[in-house]
Amino acid sequence: MSAWLAQHHAALASAFRRLLATPLTTFLSLLVIGIALTLPAAGYALLDNLRELGRNASGVQQISLFLSLDASKKEVADIESRLRSAAAGKWKFVPREDALKRLQKSEGMAEIVASLPRNPLPDAFIVEPANTEPEALEIMRKEIAGWPKVAHVQLDSAWVKRFDAFLKLGKLALWMLAGIFAAGLILVTFNTIRLQVMAQAMEIEVARMIGATDAFIRRPFYYFGALQGGLGGLLAALLVGAGLHLLAAPVADLAALYGGSFSLRRPGLLETGVLTAAGALLGWLGAQLSVSLSLRKFD
């Protein structure tokens, strides 16, 4: 057990020493990895904030529900009880007479309304849904449309749906971007480690001949890859955090202009941890591939 610990400790120390031994190379590698991870991480932060923005804005969601002209009082009551049992949220009943009166009050409409032989407006409900998720709204719209005497259901903000579709597209693009940059990180690590194995050919050869196991020889490279990737991930989190910090004030000003308040969400401890771990994992993977290929010639 203590031998095992000592070996891991030694491997980690040796990985650190290798990072520090070539500060410029290390700095450049970290920058490459950091920037590669910054792009998807920044995309994620952007989408995350847009989603937040969309959620705030969807407070004005309404569903308008128009009944047929021949709907009776009893049928109106039936719709109301259906709304109640569906726990739809808050709603307001707008009788057709009220709607007509309101129309008459509008500029220039009084005469036209007076000339009508009968009230052309239907009874209506204005529903403020409890659940404003776009999917939930759509489900509710379909359900209501199937009720008796419902002539037309209108979801008042189609833009929410478009926005949501846009977010979905953005998410997909983000995953693709992340995939490409993850592959890039693996390749960068692969190459760094390949060069290291070449530079340490002598040490590897000697160590093998005097009784080193494969694990002993590979371990420092794994630690190196994970360490380099992890530090790159951390750097990316810091870069994104710094970028959002710079944007915070202008965004708040912009939101104020539209009479709202909105503050940018910055990567927290969890996101930073996830990014660091992802970097470490990818670095480890690159090291694993590289070592497996580079060590073949020592067999």
Partner: protein, 216 residues
């Protein structure tokens, strides 16, 4: 105890460096492997140290048959040997002490204990005051002694050296051989490959004389 029977080694490419040799080395013996250049001394030494594997025949070291051993078991077997290579294979990118620490890192000895043992090994070969130096700063004889310190730091039961006096003047060479003799004296099996016959008379060792890959 090392027992070889009908031991052969054919290199990839077809050259047969050892052609069916038989010998026996008892524990604690001092053995010289002699022969002309290209006779197969280095090949035999590498087979004994389990660095190369025999093509046919059997080689039994400490009761284990090398030809039958799994690849994953080789590292542990190799740790029984202290090896001084013909070209020394010192690591020039690290200090004298760090060179000697390598075998102990391989077996996972804690660092403090490792340093103590590495310094003891350097002391035995008279290099303790050079522990911080780089191998490149050492003379030929000192480099050879460093290689010996690295070979013995693990307290091997068998110490193997390939042409340890190769490029040394006779004074340094004598020093080196005295060190091996001292290890032999305390019970370590010592196997030395050399093309130099002049040492044989002096130490009266057991001799395996190779001639074109054969023992007479």
């Amino acid at each position: 105890m090392i027992v070889a029977s009908d031991l052969s080694k054919r290199y990839p490419g077809g050259f047969e460096a050892l052609k069916g040799i038989d010998f026996r080395i008892a524990a604690g013996q001092l053995v010289f492997i002699t022969g002309h250049s290209g006779a197969g001394k280095t090949t035999l030494v590498k087979l004994i140290a389990s660095i190369e594997r025999p093509t046919s025949g059997s080689l039994i070291v400490n009761g284990q048959n090398l030809s039958a051993l799994r690849r994953s078991a080789l590292p542990y077997l190799r740790r029984n040997f202290g090896m001084v290579f013909q070209d020394q294979k010192l690591l020039f990118d690290r200090s004298v002490l760090d060179n000697v620490l390598l075998p102990l890192q391989i077996i996972g000895l804690p660092r403090r204990e490792s340093i103590r043992r590495a310094q003891a090994a350097l002391d035995k070969v008279g290099l303790l005051q050079r522990e911080k130096a780089r191998p490149i700063a050492l003379s030929g004889g000192e480099q050879q002694r460093l290689a010996i310190a690295r070979a013995v730091v693990n307290r091997p039961t068998v110490l193997i050296a390939d042409e340890p006096t190769g490029n040394l003047d006779s004074e340094s060479a004598t020093e080196i051989l005295e060190i091996f003799a001292a290890f032999h004296q305390v019970g370590v099996t010592v196997v030395i490959a050399t093309h130099d016959q002049s040492w044989v008379a002096r130490y009266c060792p057991n001799v395996l004389h190779l001639d074109h890959g054969r023992l007479p």
